[in-house]
Amino acid sequence: MPTPVDVLERRIDELRVAVRQAVLAGDRAQATALRAELRRAEREWDDALDEFADQTPVPPLLPIRDQVHNALTLLGVPAAPKLLIAVHEAFFAGEIVGARLTSLRRDEERSFRAAPRQRPYYLCSALTADLLAPARGLLAVSTWPLDRRIVGPLSARVDFLTAAIRIAEQAERHPGAERLLRRFAVNIPGATDSSFADVKPEVVVRAARAELAVHEGADRSHREAAAERARTQLDDAAQLFGSRELQRT
């Protein structure tokens, strides 16, 4: 599809030819009118070009793995790319390009397997508690204790509540995070007042802690048992990026 700039360029070419023909034919009135139109088209072309320059994305200040690491460190729990993008947008400068997240984990795994433990941290998988396989769509940080990277049946909720607490604690200093916090608050019982009008971080923290207390004990025992199993059964790389071998047993 031709962009407006393409259309304008074609129009300018046509007008130049028309002006030349008018001058050669001695039609001065026509030539003046066409010249005016040519100037106008050229001005529009300049404006369109400026707009184009505005659209080109500014490259992010940090490499994507650092951006993701920042967001994950703030949350403190394994998280899906979508949440990481939202957290980064609310708390940090710059923008995570979603499309680049898809290959990130694979790149990290390749880098680890080629030269293990050369980097201070790796972005790795969360592991499912029963099969120790990589949990779908969850990213974690290799420096976290193994049991924090395990996802048991209750962990999705526990991680959600933990993330809500972490976000609420940070939200006071970041006014931009209110929308993100509201998204969490509406799904935690007692975290919002009846009108949903105002989300108070301290209320969210209290409500999330209350629900967390219900699940925490059972979840921790699941995770610790699975982490123990992972330590004895899996090699270094599989402990970080998950095993695909246990599925068939």
Binding site: L83, L154, A156, R157, F184, P189
Partner: protein, 363 residues
Amino acid sequence: MTSPERLRGAAAPKSHNARTIAALTTNPGCSRRAVMDAAGIDKERLAAYVGFPARFGQSQFAITRGNVFEAQLKADGCAELLRLLREVLGLPIPQVSYDDLESVDQLDARADRSRELLTRAAGGESGTLFDHPLLRLEVGGRWVYLEPDLIALQFGGTFYVVEIKSFAVIDGQADGTKVSAAATQAAVYVLALRRLLAEAGHDPGLVSHEVVLVCPENFSNRPVATLVDVRKKLSVLERQLARMARIDPILESLSPDLTFDLRPDSSGVPQRPVAELVDGLGQIDARYSPECLANCELAFFCRHEARGTTASLGKSVREELGGVPSVDLALSLASGAVAPADDQEEAAAMLRFAAQLRSECLS
């Protein structure tokens, strides 16, 4: 007597899903559809080849919209879904366990794992939400894997099917046909889930006949959940599935050399003469009604075939004009040109009255 394999010919059988199984129940009287589905014939291809391509299918936009809505509900450990279930079913706070059964790759391993986890939950052990369980159902003597975008919910010893749909509920009202279609699909899952538990020696009654239907509310993306009773759908479905297992009497009446093999050549282009196929289709009775257009790939062929019959005008006309098969006969009865037989007396009186009204209105 012929066999489903012979009818299908060399082509690979077309697999069922909840949508096709649900479509089966909308016109249980149609032998043609029953035979075609039992034999696993690719109806869409057949219809296109005989010159009546189906002009429907699921819109790509609708599919994308559905996926986005589902992802939104399931994000962050099913946070939104849990809130809804707590509101609608009174799900207790401690019940938040979530198992994603899709994390296993192989189909049979997934089915095994689904069975293991679901029966364990039925045995009274923990487990609340089960995402993407892989269920099996026997349809026409073949096992069909159902890969549902559903969540099975277990609480208080009862299982519920949670069906997420992206059509809107506006002012508490939703499109009746869509709700009905969703309920039928959910009924397929309820049935499959019941069979799974029954096989494992549990009471199939553990699966509730009420399903949780989750839809967007009004014009927003805010989800709303309602309980839908699918008992009626379940009984229709069970009857229809039992009927498919008893497809033999219909097959017996067909000639033994009947087949719908398209005889594709090496490049996959069908070589079978169209007239032969049309003739073959004519051997199996169809029961066309206008609703078929939304459900069956062969509908345009059947509509063409049923032209001039009173049945093609819809179910209400067919019922009113029982015993009057064609439109021509109905017109002759109305004008008095043909004397009605005994069983046509009632319909003929009505037709004559209607003709009289019409002539009075237009004169």
